[in-house]
């Protein structure tokens, strides 16, 4: 039994989500362009909903600056989803399997942020780092399909989507450059939650 189990101590710098590091061999579930675009749409909707949840969480904890940034990211992802719907899916939301789509990585959609990355004292810079990781995963996801053995129409659509996501990566990188980097002690709380007098 775990009688001898010890508390896991944090490393100096927590690595990014294991999800982001996981290998994810070619994902070619979509057999036609409509199916592929339905997956792309679902991915954007999931990302938008997650950013909205993260915004709610930060707002609840009075970190309004980060909340507003997540809210903005949610709007951007929703706009992207709406555009996919309008341009590729005849404005009709696709019916998804009960419980949502399954992804090869076995977790959530490539562009969905991990709520475990949040911190109550986080700053806009951290939120943008999370967004950057999401966009990079989305870009890799589409690029992988573009390189896969999928039908040509899917590969072409995936290439276009990968280019769009690559543009988003660049935009977030620029945004990050314009955002003040946090001080090393950003997480220090002079009134930490665990202290009780």
């Amino acid at each position: 039994m775990n009688e001898t189990r010890k508390t896991i101590r944090p490393k100096a710098k927590a690595p990014r989500s294991a999800r982001a590091q996981a290998a994810n061999p070619g994902e070619t579930r979509a057999v036609n362009e409509a199916g592929f675009m339905a997956r792309a749409w679902a991915m954007e909707v999931d990302a938008a909903e997650r950013y909205a949840t993260l915004a709610d969480a930060m707002e609840e904890h009075n970190n309004r600056e980060v909340a507003e940034l997540f809210r903005k990211l949610a709007r951007i992802e929703q706009l992207h989803a709406d555009r996919i719907l309008e341009e590729h899916l005849s404005r009709r939301p696709p019916a998804l399997p009960p419980g949502g789509l399954q992804w090869d990585r076995g977790a959530e959609g490539p562009e969905t942020a991990d709520p475990g990355e949040l911190h109550y004292r986080m700053q806009p810079y951290h939120a943008l780092e999370i967004a950057l990781a999401c966009e990079q995963r989305a870009c890799e996801y589409f690029a992988r399909i573009a390189r896969s053995g999928a039908v040509p129409a899917v590969r072409k659509a995936a290439k276009e989507m990968a280019a769009e996501e690559a543009e988003h990566v660049r935009l977030i990188e620029d945004w990050l450059k314009r955002t003040p980097a946090p001080r090393k002690d950003w997480a220090h709380d002079p009134d930490p939650p665990v202290d009780i007098d």
């Binding site: 508390t7 896991i8 927590a14 579930r29 949840t53 609840e60 998804l96 709520p115 475990g116």
Partner: protein, 279 residues
């Protein structure tokens, strides 16, 4: 997986979420557990009006308010008692009890044992963060003995409670462990638990990043259980006794018949009810 163009709106996981915004800390694992629970409901194609979520007290026990199902936010440690009563009285409902490690293993520890033993057809989801979060960081039954904090200087030195072994010994019919950082995998575990007749227990490692920031490392510690579920309690016991607490998956699936008392007759007259209390 096929995707058809919609003709009618399907019930999505989102439809099982209420308009009430969670007040959990940013980074709390319980957000993902809420997502997993609602995904499991959607996977099973349930309807909110046919599901009841019952809880006790604690951060994670706020979960009924965040779903659109029927909910009961009960008293500390009594989620399983209330859920048992509800399921016995309304076997047509899908009943989920949920809560944390303090609520379930300490204050509600006795109910946990007997819920496993009774084997009523319901699912118990425990969001285990090895700490009392709502009351600011006291050690819970699953806190490691060496966890040093201002409230437990030098650690408690007490051996940890092992909920999966206890559940097995007490008679739970389905035992699994999930991790909040794997929300889709956890959704599948919960759905499997709900499909399995009898008392199903799903322990979910759900980090409290505010009071126990070191738990952010859990995502690097968890791994899929090396072997699949067994229906042999002796084998399951051996496996769980050597478990380090980070194996994820379905670990035991039994075949005990669920307990369900015969439905009581509907009484037509008050006198008939009074007669039942006659000494």
């Amino acid at each position: 997986m096929s995707i058809a163009t919609a003709t009618a709106a399907p019930i999505t996981a989102q439809a099982f979420k209420s308009d009430c915004k969670p007040v959990w800390c940013p980074g709390c694992g319980d957000y993902s557990v809420l997502s997993s629970v609602t995904k499991a409901f959607a996977m099973l194609e349930l309807r909110p009006e046919n599901v009841a979520v019952v809880s006790g007290i604690g951060c994670s026990s706020r979960i009924p308010a965040y779903t659109s199902c029927y909910g009961f936010h009960g008293v500390h440690g009594r989620a399983l008692a209330a859920a048992t009563g509800l399921k016995v009285a309304r076997p047509d409902l899908t009943v989920i009890a949920a809560g944390g490690d303090g609520d379930g293993y300490s204050i509600g520890g006795n109910h946990f044992l007997h819920a496993c033993r009774r084997n009523v057809d319901m699912t118990y989801v425990v969001m285990d963060n090895h700490v009392y979060g709502m009351t600011k960081g006291q050690p819970s039954p699953t806190t490691e003995p060496d966890w040093d904090s201002k409230l437990s200087p030098g650690g408690t030195g007490l051996r940890t409670f092992h909920p999966l072994v206890i559940a097995l010994a007490a008679g739970a019919n389905f035992i699994a462990r999930g991790f909040s950082g794997d929300p889709n995998g956890t959704a599948r575990l919960i759905a499997d638990a709900m499909r399995n007749p009898g008392f199903s227990f799903v322990e979910i490692l759900s980090p409290c990043v505010t009071l126990r920031p070191e738990q952010r490392e859990w995502k690097n510690a968890v791994r899929p259980a090396p072997v699949g579920a067994t229906d042999d309690p002796a084998r399951a016991a051996r496996r769980l006794m050597t478990d380090d607490g980070f194996n994820i998956g379905v670990l035991y699936v039994g075949s005990r018949k669920p307990y369900q008392p015969p439905a009581a007759k509907t009484l037509q007259r008050l006198a008939d009810l009074e007669a039942q209390f006659a000494i």
